[in-house]
Symmetry: C2
Subunit: 394 residues, 2 copies
């Protein structure tokens, strides 16, 4: 055996003797993450292999192909970014915006504001049009914005996780064509649960996440880019100002060259491959119908308990429902009670809806009639105590 | 039940009927990823919980504390970035560089070049000093560079994954103090396997990865920032030009405010928490000694087979060894043979060492005498065929 080395003294102050991990059981019915499919968790725990291993390279192609199906796109550049949905969001901006270009963000919730913040960091001339949190844009409103600002990119959210609104997409792609701008779409809370037809809708850039409709833990951010956006990327006058998310580099790894870029999060990709495979096995139409019918059951049940939905029915997301917190109820205390005493997570409001709504997610693996019954039962049995006497929350 | 929706036709062309995942067994003795500890894979497969769940918030603090131990730092801002090591690398640059500032990169391998590329994307005035791939910098060489360029930041690699060189650190922090610049250090291939004393070394910014010395799959990028770097961040004249990696925002989530930034990759954090816990249980001195003694056993055994190490012994990394490919041997074919026929991955050379060296990693869970014996046996039995007749590789 080798001789022991002499080290300078090691500071033991941060060497804590924690026990092995033990995770509490949770039913995740908030805005995400949702519970993962058990098969996805099994896939995640497969021993890692190399990111240039022929088996892994084949798996990458499978993930890309199944993502194209889930998004209904033929885009060659379709891949999961090695970060969460927000990283994929930033990738759409970083790769498409050049300094000084006008980006019009149609804001109707928290994530629209995030898009505007990001676009500003990439030195876009950011212009915004806004709707109240809980509404969607009409074609006329969008066209007025396009006419006024003549942007290079219109960025908007399909499924606003902060409000529970699903933006109707008919005609928006055609408007963008007319005004010669790219269409950038957030599909974080729609992929896998809500009808999405990226190519028919003429979407140029889109992103999503792994932890909602796909029933996989958070950690990957599906990303896609149309040939039109790709050709804009090729014509850039400067490097993409973000190395990690630079699609011109990533393309050499995910494309046929297989040039090393970064060490891929292989296990997360095992997981998303299984998640996408399960979605493909179920079929998009079945998954979309399942989300719709469970959401309708939830809405009906909550309304029967006298609760109001924040969004009008025709705009409501089947994946995420915003429920108005009744007068006099401490919404945060109720949510904490459900989490701590019943292991059920529901979300609170963000931004202008903070304190005003709960957000109830029925996404992917969690969109089942049984989970709807659980929510309805727990609201029926527990909410009255919070209505009568807020103090019992403590 | 709800009525079925009528959807536009769903394109089935990308709906492939792949079977469930089945990952081949690999012994990963390349430059990373390494095999994960089985306990880490178990942790990874725990059902996800919410990123604002009180349990998760506690776990975040544990991960931070154990990272401080592993790095030997008291830095408050110590956390895993939600991406791979390259994301954490970019985070050190994005948060510390302001446009026009001089960044001096001391390049002695592939990852030094990457640092220079990244710094350029953040509009630094990038200056470089270079050494041959396989050598380290002397204090005199570094001081000459600091004197000439007067940078705001000196960026360099502690453990060069492309060459197998460990940069001696004595005196570098003092030099940076003398020339009033921050010290940014890549510890991707050293964390957990090679002595690291960030605070004693006066390192201001450092990053690493999860998949090498920590025995966790790839997907997280440990990051740390000294109070000096933190105060520079606070004085920035503009927003960090990278939203996802913006530490001023991340600090609000990882700090005591717990303000939502992005949906954390909770399962990856389960994994790294277990990985760091195991490292803390073993103790840094024991882990460092283990890596050293297994590496020495490897070097001795390979030399006994007539092979040459690329790096002189006093600069050699115990985690990653570069072995010169003997004259007449097709190194790539040999590595492919080991992978396809024996399930053992060793790496090839990068950049100026492509085709000239193999890279053999003994990192984290994989640094065992048994694995050294496996490498030595397989080299002894298989390499002679490749020495005699390159054609048998096909």
């Amino acid at each position: 055996m080798a001789t022991k080395q002499n080290f300078p003294t090691v500071d033991q102050s941060h060497r804590k003797a924690y026990g092995p991990i033990s995770v509490p059981e949770r039913l995740l019915l908030g805005p995400g993450p949702s519970n993962a499919h058990p098969g996805v968790l099994d896939a995640l725990a497969c021993p890692p292999i190399g990111h240039l291993d022929p088996f892994y390279v084949e798996l990458m192609g499978e993930v890309q192909e199944l993502l194209r199906y889930a998004w209904q796109t033929n885009n060659r550049l379709t891949l999961p970014m090695s970060g969460t949905g927000s990283a994929a969001m930033e990738a759409t901006i970083a790769n498409s915006v050049e300094p000084g270009e006008t980006v019009l963000v149609a804001i109707k919730g928290y994530f629209g504001h995030r898009l505007a913040d990001m676009a500003g960091r990439y030195q876009a001339n950011v212009q915004t049009i806004e709707k109240a949190w809980g509404e969607a844009f009409s074609l006329g409103e969008l066209e007025a914005g396009l006419r006024e600002y003549r942007p290079s990119i219109l960025a908007m959210v399909h499924a606003e996780t902060s409000t529970g609104v699903c933006q109707p997409m008919d005609g928006i792609g055609e408007l963008c064509e007319k005004y010669n701008c790219l269409l950038l779409l957030d599909t974080v809370t729609s992929l896998g649960g809500v009808p999405l037809y990226l190519d028919s809708w003429k979407v140029d850039l889109a992103y999503s996440c792994s932890q909602k409709g796909l029933s996989c833990p958070p950690g990957l951010g599906p990303f896609t880019m149309s040939p039109r956006a790709e050709s804009k990327l090729l014509k850039r006058s400067s490097k993409v100002p973000n190395w990690y998310l630079d699609v011109s580099l990533l393309n050499k790894y995910w494309g046929s060259d297989r040039v090393y870029h970064h060490t891929a999060p292989v296990n997360m990709n095992f997981g998303i491959r299984e998640a996408l495979r399960l979605l493909s096995e179920e079929g998009l139409e079945n998954a979309w119908n399942r989300h719709r019918s469970n959401a309708e059951k939830l809405w009906k049940g909550l309304e029967q308990q006298g609760l109001d939905m924040h969004v009008s029915e025709e705009l409501r997301l089947p994946t995420l429902t915003t429920v108005r917190i009744p007068e006099g109820v401490n919404g945060k205390a109720f949510a904490l009670h459900l989490l701590n005493n019943h292991g059920i997570e529901v979300g609170g409001g963000l931004g202008s809806l903070a304190g005003k709504v709960w957000r109830i997610g029925l996404m992917g693996y969690n969109s089942t009639p049984e989970n709807v019954d659980k929510v309805l039962n727990i609201f029926e049995s527990e909410l009255p105590r919070f209505r009568e006497n807020d103090a019992c929350a403590a």
